[in-house]
């Protein structure tokens, strides 16, 4: 086991990489319990059963009012009827730069989910930097998964696979963020799975991402669906020039 420093945490919301504006990120999940203690129960301890889980995300950072920066992105989604998609990479190896994709990030843990933005505050102290704080109410719970692609360039390539050691049988969640796009064509992203790490079949195919489009997409693999032992991200491209900055992850459900 290796402990991780938080300095390389990444925060993606919808089609934006907001990592450079935040300096704190907290994702919390709790489970409600109901008491089942009855008269005459053996021993002297109360008993409980588990109920629903609930999750929230809190982000803190520095204000930036430029186009596409944190203030514009967050204020536009505050209270929106459409859930926002988010991915938080808590820690890990130093991230590569665009056009220098590395397999180092593949397999890193991340938290993915969809949420409603419930609070956005801007604090302007007379003696300090203007700061922001964001609260998200997660809709449907968070899922803890692994990164399959990150900062993939315009290559038609499949990244390093991740090995879960065993298949799972309860579906999962796939999350795609395309946060930079100068590519002169269309790219199609897929999550593929395999039994033997040799041949691969599509598990999820995202809607193709066209030229100059930034987007985020969340796809649910239905409960009960088989997910084989190995996973990888895959890209097929039609076009040339430029690149798409991409974060693709998948969380198995158990």
């Amino acid at each position: 086991m290796a402990f991780k420093h938080g300095k390389n945490t990444k925060v993606h919301i919808n089609a934006s990489d907001l990592s450079s504006y935040f300096n704190s990120a907290s994702a919390s999940t709790s489970v409600a319990v109901a008491e089942t203690t009855t008269y005459g129960v053996a021993g002297s301890a109360k008993t409980y059963v588990a109920g629903h889980n609930d999750a929230t995300v809190s982000l803190g950072g520095l204000f930036d009012g430029d186009a596409g920066a944190v203030d514009e992105v967050i204020s536009n989604v505050l209270g929106s009827s459409n859930d926002i998609n988010f991915t938080i990479i808590e820690s890990g190896a130093r991230l590569s730069t665009i056009l220098a994709p590395s397999s180092a990030q593949v397999g890193q843990r991340c938290i993915i989910g969809q949420a409603i933005s419930t609070k956005y505050s801007v604090d302007s102290p007379v003696g300090g930097v203007v700061s922001v704080a964001v609260d998200l109410q997660v809709d449907g719970g968070t899922d803890h998964g692994v990164i399959l692609l990150y900062d993939q360039s315009a290559l038609t390539a499949s990244q390093t696979s991740t090995d879960n050691a065993a298949a799972t049988s309860n579906g999962g969640i796939a999350m795609l963020h395309v946060f930079t796009n100068t590519y002169g064509g269309t790219m199609t992203y897929r999550v593929q799975h395999s039994v033997d790490n040799s041949s691969w079949v599509d598990l999820v195919t995202f809607t193709a991402v066209g030229s100059s489009t930034t987007t985020s997409q969340r796809v649910v693999v239905a409960a009960g669906a088989n997910v084989n032992r190995y996973l990888r991200g895959s890209v097929t491209a039609s076009g040339s020039g430029g690149y798409q900055g991409t974060l693709l992850s998948f969380a198995r459900r158990f």
Partner: protein, 80 residues
């Protein structure tokens, strides 16, 4: 090498990737890694493609029993 047809899997849309190649549902392939064929068939992502001469063989084999049955049935009916 046997030839297999890509079925698309449970929802009929899943493509197949191997050896830096990609095959879409409906494609026929004959160079899938040997070790992958078993699980791809078990999970329903590929199915064997029958040889073109197989239907003719079936027809030829089927003709004789039918004829034989007809000839056998005729005397039975006469008996009744």
């Amino acid at each position: 090498m046997p030839t297999y047809r890509v079925t698309g899997g449970p929802d009929g849309t899943a493509g197949l990737s191997y050896k830096d190649k990609r095959a879409e549902p409906g494609d026929e392939v004959s160079d899938i890694p040997r070790e992958s064929i078993k699980w791809l068939r078990e999970q329903g992502y590929i199915e064997p493609v029958e040889k073109a001469d197989t239907p003719a063989e079936v027809a030829a084999v089927g003709d004789s029993p039918t004829d034989a049955a007809s000839s056998d049935e005729a005397p039975t009916e006469e008996t009744v």
